[in-house]
Symmetry: C2
């Protein structure tokens, strides 16, 4: 394999730095999902931790390095999950954390960022506008900017998921990874391709936020003017060139799925696995639902990467409606 920016020895070392609360997450076959999906399905569950997503794996690396180097402050742009995780990791190490997010991000995510003690600044635009603002804050105050997917710690933190997948028996044929900025896709993909090259790495993105997928297909950065998806966690318009380069080396395929499939995936995970997930975490199931023939008879792993949803929106999506609570 050509070399990505990631390094297996550093990824292994990361497991000794990251708070164990984010590691060795549940990884189990979910047979109740299988009749609907027509393949063997195992879930890697990244929601049962204090920030309800996989992002703590990366922010633990970032925050521990900052603390080691005597740094006091850090800023990031976030769709909502990175900000929570950085707030959590920074709080434990006495760092001042600033998070810039879109004011259209789910209230549940924004509320938790504040509750975890971070300073939250909202922009009247999308995630890519928040990235610009975070960079400006970093320049102005001379503090560390954490750039999700670009900063190697965010990729190598997520890559520890890959180690846990390949270390576990039994073997599997395919791993489905939600694709947004690319930290999880390149991280997990790097480890899988290095240690279990026979496993197919398929990244999944919403049709309504296809920038990285279009870029992967054209092998050059393609940006879009807007996004239109409920999967807020993966809704970016401007792929980062270095991340695309890595993705080109580790992804066997990148597929786009419809919103209706994402919703059907969330509903399947609720009804058959008892899991509340955010839309981004249902992308893998959505991909199977859209192409059962492709996966028939295979053992497919999907990373359930987050569960931070506004419950009212969630009930609307999965076909349940809040009733009056007396």
């Amino acid at each position: 394999m050509q070399e990505t920016r990631l390094d297996l020895a550093r990824i292994r070392a990361a497991c000794r730095v990251i708070d164990p609360i984010f590691l060795d997450t549940p990884f189990y076959r979910c047979e109740a999902l299988e009749p609907d999906l027509g393949c063997t399905v195992s879930i890697k569950l990244e929601t049962a931790n204090p920030v309800r997503s996989f992002k703590g794996r990366g922010t633990e690396l970032v925050a521990s390095l900052l603390a080691e180097n005597g740094r006091r402050a850090v800023v990031c742009a976030s769709a909502g999950n990175l900000g929570q995780a950085l707030a959590w990791s920074g709080r434990g190490r006495g760092l001042d954390v600033t998070v810039v997010a879109s004011r259209f991000a789910p209230a549940a995510k924004l509320d938790r960022i504040r509750a975890l003690g971070a300073r939250l600044e909202l922009v009247d635009g999308d995630f890519d506008m928040a990235r610009e603002r975070a960079a400006a804050i970093a320049r102005h105050h001379g503090i560390r900017l954490v750039e999700d997917s670009l900063d190697i710690e965010t990729c190598e933190g997520a890559a520890t998921i890959g180690l846990e997948l390949v270390d576990a028996a039994p073997s599997f044929d395919t791993v489905l990874i939600a694709l947004g900025g690319g930290a999880m896709a390149t991280g997990v993909g790097h480890v899988v391709k290095a240690l279990a090259p026979g496993v197919e790495v398929i990244c999944v993105q919403p049709l309504g936020a296809p920038a990285m997928t279009l870029s992967w297909r054209e092998r050059r950065v393609v940006t879009t003017d807007s996004t239109d998806t409920i999967a807020d966690g993966v809704a970016g318009r401007r792929p980062i060139p270095a991340v695309l380069d890595d993705l080109l080396l580790v992804a066997d395929d990148v597929v786009l799925v419809q919103e209706a499939s994402i919703i059907a995936g969330m509903r399947a995970l609720l009804d058959h696995a008892g899991l509340v997930v955010e839309p981004s975490a249902a992308l893998g199931i959505a991909a199977i639902l859209e192409d059962r023939d492709r996966f028939a008879g295979r053992h497919v792993v999907t990373v359930v990467c987050g569960s931070n949803v506004d419950m009212d929106a969630y009930h609307g999506w999965v076909g349940t409606a809040p009733t009056v609570r007396g």
Copy 2:
């Protein structure tokens, strides 16, 4: 401490027998729950495994012993979770598994027992009637009867949860354990009292199924004529004397909670922790909701012991209603 039937060395050894898929489950502080509850709350999550409850810890011990001894068949009565777990553990070891359950048990549980390859026999009565029928089957066929809470493997399997609690930092003040037949309560209670005697062990049972609580209070077996609770997993009428003896040694208190509190607990776990749980798994949160003053300022651990619910019933309980799915 006086001696229960449980043994710490055997419990430690059990961790080497039980499939790791049931061990080292997530254990994390859930701050989003805390404003409502007025105390520090940590969750021990027993739902992210192939049978969605803690029962696999015990059935792994049972099934591995049977297989070692060349036994081919086993029968148990089950409220629904033990049956699933025994079916799972037995299937992997080539055992013929028969499960006897009430025909009023949640369809979700009964469906999964069948799907896991067990023979399911339904009785037109409650769990205690299923116990009688299972015993008759065992006598008739000369096969092993697994009696939940009486058989030491079911208690010592559950007790491995206690090891994981006391091995984890930081310390906590109180553990809340759902109380039904008593396997989890005596198991976790034994380990906590042995290794962290300062931690308060509080068992929680529904007001509508209070037999073990009444027995604990009177220090003698008290049976009831019926049960009336949505918490199907803990709805027994006839406490087992030996289990009561153990419970008297390890429980600091046993409390009864109302149905409305169980529902409020399920709703809190959904809204603030993103967790779908069955009613029995919300008993701990229900106990806090009913007596916030008692727990104020303390660090309370609650074992979220299962998530096998009929989704229609669940939506009805937590205040969401299924809408027409087009």
